[in-house]
Symmetry: C2
Subunit: 443 residues, 2 copies
Amino acid sequence: MAHSDSVSVRVFSLNCWGIHYLSKQCGQRYAMIGEMLSKEEHDIVLLQEVWSEKDYLFLKQKLACCHPHSHYFKSGVIGSGLAIFSKHRIHDTFLYRYSLNGYPYMAHHGDWFGGKAVGMAILSIGSLTANVYVTHLHAEYCRDKDSYLPHRVVQAWELQQFIRHTSAAADVVILGGDLNMHPQDLGNRLLKASTGLRDSYLETAKFDGCEDGITLIADNPFISKKTLIPFEKGIRIDYILFKGSSKADIYCDFMSTTKGSVPDHPFPYSDHETLTAELRLEALTPAETESDRTSKNQDSAAGKVAELVDIVTEARTEVKVGLHCAERMRYTATRTGVMGLALLVLELAIAAVPWLALGAEQPFPRTSFYMLAALCFAILLTTSLLYIFYTMELKSLQGAEDQMRLAVGSLQEKLRGFPLAQPHSTQRKPPEGLEPSAFDPEE
Amino acid sequence: MAHSDSVSVRVFSLNCWGIHYLSKQCGQRYAMIGEMLSKEEHDIVLLQEVWSEKDYLFLKQKLACCHPHSHYFKSGVIGSGLAIFSKHRIHDTFLYRYSLNGYPYMAHHGDWFGGKAVGMAILSIGSLTANVYVTHLHAEYCRDKDSYLPHRVVQAWELQQFIRHTSAAADVVILGGDLNMHPQDLGNRLLKASTGLRDSYLETAKFDGCEDGITLIADNPFISKKTLIPFEKGIRIDYILFKGSSKADIYCDFMSTTKGSVPDHPFPYSDHETLTAELRLEALTPAETESDRTSKNQDSAAGKVAELVDIVTEARTEVKVGLHCAERMRYTATRTGVMGLALLVLELAIAAVPWLALGAEQPFPRTSFYMLAALCFAILLTTSLLYIFYTMELKSLQGAEDQMRLAVGSLQEKLRGFPLAQPHSTQRKPPEGLEPSAFDPEE
C-alpha cells in the first residue's frame, strides 16, 4: 500500500527526579540531560518531575536551538513537574489536574504537593495534527498494601477520559510519562482498553534496552534495592503510548531505554531510565481510511467492549474500596473532633466551679488549663480541616464511581445491540478522527 | 436548501438557589420546579446550585418518566451543584474542576466550598451527537471592586479550553448555565470569540421574557434590590449558548424567560429566572458542508483572529493583576508568619531568663506565657496554610497566563500568514467537526 506521506518522529520520555536538596547530583544530572537532549535532537521530549522552574528554564535555554518550542505545566504547590520540548510548533496547550492525588498530611510522600496532572500540547507534524500528552501519576510506595490505589485508579480513569474527549480532532495521539503502574495493572489496562492507545515497547519492531523493558532497575545506583522488592531486576512503569486515526497510521520502528549507566559519566540521568521511541507516521488517503475502518470494526469490536466492561467494573470495585476507606477516615475525624469539643466543654465546666464558688481557697491550675485548652483547639482545627479534605475526597470518588456506572451501562447497551448493529454500523459515518476505541458511540 | 434531517430540541436552564436553611422556600421551590419540568418535558434540562444530592434525587424520581437519563456532577466540599436531565440517552460524562474558585476563608461567600466546575454530557439526538455543557462560574459580589475577577477570567479561559478541546467530535454544542458575567464582560467575550458559541438570546427569532433578556431581576421577590445597584432593572448573567458544526446547522426559533413570578404560585422558582430555548438542529449533507465552510472561512477569519488576540491580551492583563495580588497576599502571609516565629523565639528567650537565673524571686507569668505561645502557634499554622494556598493560586494564575501567552503567539503567527494562507487554506482538509472558531489550526 503506497502512502502519500510518511514522517519519522522520535519521542523521548524521562522522569527527571528533580527534587533539589533531596535528589542526588540534581544539578549535574540536569546538565547531562541538557547535553544529551541537545545532541540527540528528538522531535518531542516529555519530561516529568522537573519540580523547579529554574531547571526548566535551564533546559529551555540549553535546547533553544534544537527545540524552539516548549511548555512547562504549572499546578499544585510545587508544580506538576511536567514539561514538553518540541521541534514542531506547539499551537495550544491544556492541563487537567487530577481530582485525587494523595493526602497533604503525607508530606514525606509529597505527591499531594506536586499537583499531579496530565498536560496536553497540540503540535503540527508535517501535514498531521498530533495531540501529545505528558503525565505522572501518584507513586506506589507499598505494592502489598497500596493505600493510594483508589486514587491512582481514579487518575487513570480521568486520564483516559481526558485523552478520549480531547483527541477527536487529532491525527495521531502520543502519551509519554511515568504512570507508576506495571504493564498489567488495572489502571494501565483501563487506559489502553478505553483509549485504544498502544504500548511502544510491545509494538516496536526492534528494541534495545533493559530486559522486559523495565525502567526502574536494580542496576541504577540511585535506586535502593529495597524499594523494588519483590521485583528483583526492576519494574516497568514509564511508557510511551501512541495511536493513529482514520487519517494516519502510526508504527514504532525502534525503541530503546538506557540501562542504568551513561557512557563517560559517573552516574545515570535519573533514578528512572530514559525511553526513546522512533515512530513512523503515515498519512492515509480517504480510500484507505474507509477500508481500514471497516475491516477493523468488524474484527473484534464486541470482544473489546466486553473486555472494557470487565475492566471498568473492576475499577469501580477499587473506587468503592477507596470510598469505604474515605468514609471511615471522615468518621474517625468527626468522632475525634466531637471528643475534642467534649473535652473543651468539660474543662470549661471544671474551671467554672472554683470561679463560681467565690472565696474557694484552692489555687487554680492555670498551666494545665491553658495546655489542655490549646490541645482541644488544635484537635478541633485539625479534625475540621480533615473533615473538609475527606469530604472532597469522597465527592471525587463518588463522582468517578457515578461516571463509571454510567459508562458500564452505556457499554452494556452497546453490547446488547451488537448482533444487529454490526452490519448496520459500517454504513454509518465513522466517528470523528480516531482509531476505534471501545467507548466510541456506535449506535 | 432542503435539509435531510431536522430535529427540534428544547433546552432549559436554571440556577436553583438550593442552599438549604439559607435559601427561602427551598423545599417548596424544588416541588414547583419538579412539577413544571415534568409538565414541560424539555429535551435537556441544565440545573445549577442543586447543592444537595437529596434534591437531585427528588427531581430524578419526579422526572423519571419524562427524563429517564440524568447525571449529577460531584465536586468540591458541597458538590458542584450541577445536574443534567435528558430525554435523550447520555452516553458519557466528564467533569472539569476550575483550578481557581475563590478562597476557603471567604466562607460567607461559599464559592470555594462549591467546587465550581463545567460538566459535559454526550447525548445522541436523532442521528446527531450533541455535547452538552453545564457550568456555574464564581459569583460577583461587588462589581466596582471585584476581587474575584482574575479567578472568573481564568474560569472562563478554562471553560473555553475545555469546550474547544472536547467538542471536536460533536455535531452540535450546547452550553447552559450561570456564568455570573454580563453579556459584554471580558470572560463572556473570551468564551464566545474562542469557541464560536452563539448566544440564544441574541440569535432567537422570537423572544418572550424580561427586557434585555435579564435573568436576575429587581421584580423577583427573592432579590435584594441592593445587590443589583447600579443596574436598576436587573442583569443578564444566565445563558444558553450553542453552535453547530460542519455536519449540522443549529438555529434558535424561540426563547423565553420567566418574569419574576409564576402563575398560581406565591413565589418564583428561584432568585434567578428560568431560561428556555427552542433550538432547531439541521443535519447537513457533505456537499452543503463544503460550500458552507468555504464561504464562512473567507468571510472574516482574519478579523475574528485579530479580535481574539485583543481579548486574550485583555484577559492576560487581568490575570497579571491577579498574579500581582496573589503575590502580595503571599508576601503578607510570609511576613506575618515570620513575625509570629520571631515573637515565639522572643517569648522563649524571655521565659529562659528567670529559669536560668536560678533563685530569682519574681513569679513566672504563666498565663501570659501560654496565651502568647498559643497565639504564636495559631499565627504560624494559619500563615503556613495561607502560604500553601496562595502558592497554589499563583501556580494556577501563572499556568493560565503561560497558556494565554502561547495562544496569543499562535494566533499572531496565524494572522501574519493570512494574506498568503487564505487562498491556500480552502484546498486543505477542513478542521475536524466544528464551526470555525478563531483558534482552529489553519496552517
